[in-house]
Symmetry: C2
Subunit: 359 residues, 2 copies
């Protein structure tokens, strides 16, 4: 087991990464202020891992209530959130009853937002079971639900007390979701870690084969990168925005195609290629670097062509993004592989040309 | 104009109290990071004060969009909250667009929760227009909406950047609401400020006549008390709970009678009398002190008898309160006038006897 730490003063917390952590209730116990927890999971992950986690907790005399949600990004909304609140209230959960998110990014985001807002905030624990959640969404305290007019528009910064990434849960992850998670892994290499990008070029095959050592390394290295950025800029007033490489384009793709039809990681992959292309048009990235980026996404089996939803519609959807400031769109662009930068001076023509290229 | 400060490190903020502050946009300008704001108000307060505030802002080149909600505690819910989100998104409000709450406690609570959660948090300004909001709910960062199973069950701690209490707005406040606000004013005397309680015994008539000097003093003294408590215990892990004197009973009354039928302050008055009676039964408060408390509430024209909703139902509703810890109900009780204490060892019989006394 590897343990990292997100350094945020009194709100610092550990990330444990390793095999069979689901059975190790002793990792959870120190964070509980009450022998009762509420586990939020979904209809896909629940049947696989809920009993194991509950049993481990119950052996340590921790009572667990379960809240099982429908599976999918299209359920990351008010209605589903209210199912959580209803259940917490019906089961008399209190201010010191911890909420545990057992699942992927959607479960982490919605359960985290429920934890941030139920009784004005209860303790929260992340048990991510997808690669995407283990390398990205479970770390850093972003929680949210979607609004019909935009993804993650309603949410809170709310840090967990603990992240428990059990690598073995990736064994049951559908291949498409594994690949989607790899998109966020590649992102860390692109924005701030050239040696990791180079490692990925050499080892992407091992990740796709789910080699445990390779997965463990990639998850730890990703979390290290994320933890460093979050520690320096928790609320995204600066550097943290770089983690959104490909996300402004990606969110537009997800929204236009209907949440859940493109997986988040797939949209981020296609969106990152657009961001790289735009970086090239802006005179930042070189052609050979763009080619390397395309090649790595392709080796990972990720989409590099964005869907045809029309330039106007793309721009409309991107203008709804949270990164808009004083009416100006801000883009995370690449200076080179391993170095990203925010630019708010992108000419409309460069943007249109990028969107028309589809990657 | 009096100016106080809530001391919370980087999140410290001023409270300005005085006449005609609505016209003084220069008090607001330093807190804005963008020349655009969204004003949330209701159908009662909007026609009275919205144009004045908008005009003052527009003279300083600040564009203001308006979001006008139906008036009443019964609208402090998901549906109304979503009206705010819809409007913020339709009007392209961004992460640095401030939300201004112009109204009473309900508007402050729901607009504050919208500010806490829209795009994971935008700047928030309180412009309270009721006595209750000026002395209590606008200060301290508690935001929330109600759930069918309990009041303020969904919310966040989210501090405003500024509180602007324009005393003249109380001129149009219905008498019933003025009295309801006085309930929270009396609370500060009861829990931690005996000299203020004594001042109230002498000056309650002036408050009811809306004497501006008396109102200004009572509001400042209340805010001073609240600011001190909040600075020491922002998230209610200890001392702040004392501010909930009468609220566990009060919330049960509000819920049982249907939100909006009893005003919050009215329920708090009747609830405080119950808490005082329980304090007597617990051997804490004396009979003469109880009589003084009853007399002051009566002079203020506030209800001192709680409604007949049945002991069982009271207990059921109180068990839903956020102050329950490890299944035990916690009560804010009075040792004497000017000193409150949390007790979690109240015997069932003392509680039943209190509830059956109705005050």
């Amino acid at each position: 087991m590897r343990t990292l730490k997100v350094e945020l003063d009194q709100r610092s917390y550990p990330i444990h990464i390793g095999p069979n952590l689901l059975d190790q209730a002793e990792l959870v116990l120190p964070t509980l202020s009450q022998k009762k927890v509420a586990i939020v999971t979904n209809t896909t992950v629940g049947p696989l891992y809920l009993e194991r986690l509950k049993n481990a907790l119950e052996k340590s005399k921790v009572a667990a209530i379960s809240i099982i949600l429908p599976d999918g990004e299209q359920y990351k909304n008010w209605e589903t959130l209210n199912l959580i609140y209803d259940s917490l209230l019906e089961n008399r959960c209190e201010r010191n009853t911890a909420i545990i998110a057992l699942g992927g990014g959607v479960i982490g985001d919605i359960a985290g937002f429920a934890a941030a807002t139920y009784q004005r905030g209860v303790p929260f624990i992340q048990v991510p079971t997808t690669l995407l959640a283990q390398v990205d969404s479970s770390v850093g305290g972003k929680t949210a639900i979607n609004h019909p007019l935009g993804k993650n528009m309603i949410g809170a910064f709310y840090q967990p007390k603990l992240v428990l990434a059990d690598i073995n849960t990736l064994d049951t992850l559908p291949e498409r979701e594994l690949k989607a998670g790899i998109a966020e892994v590649i992102k860390y290499g692109l924005i701030r870690d050239l040696p990791f990008f180079e490692w990925l070029e050499l080892n992407i095959g091992k990740l796709l084969e789910r080699n445990p050592e390779a997965l463990g390394y990639a998850i730890s290295r990703s979390c290290e990168n994320k933890a460093e950025v979050v520690a320096r800029d928790e609320r995204e007033s600066g550097e943290r925005a770089l983690l959104n490489l490909g996300h402004t384009f990606g969110h537009a793709i997800e929204n236009a195609m209907g949440y859940g039809n493109w997986l988040h990681g797939e949209a981020v992959a296609a969106g990152t290629v657009l961001a790289a292309r735009l970086s090239l048009f802006m005179g930042m990235l070189t052609e050979p670097d763009l080619a390397r980026i395309l090649a790595l996404f392709e080796k990972a089996g990720l989409p590099t062509r964005s869907p045809e939803i029309g330039t106007e519609r793309y721009i409309q959807l991107m203008e709804l993004d949270k990164k808009v400031e004083d009416g100006k769109m801000r883009f995370v662009l690449l200076e080179k592989i391993g170095k990203a930068r925010v630019r708010s001076d992108v000419p409309k023509e460069a943007l249109s040309r990028t969107l028309e290229s589809h990657g």
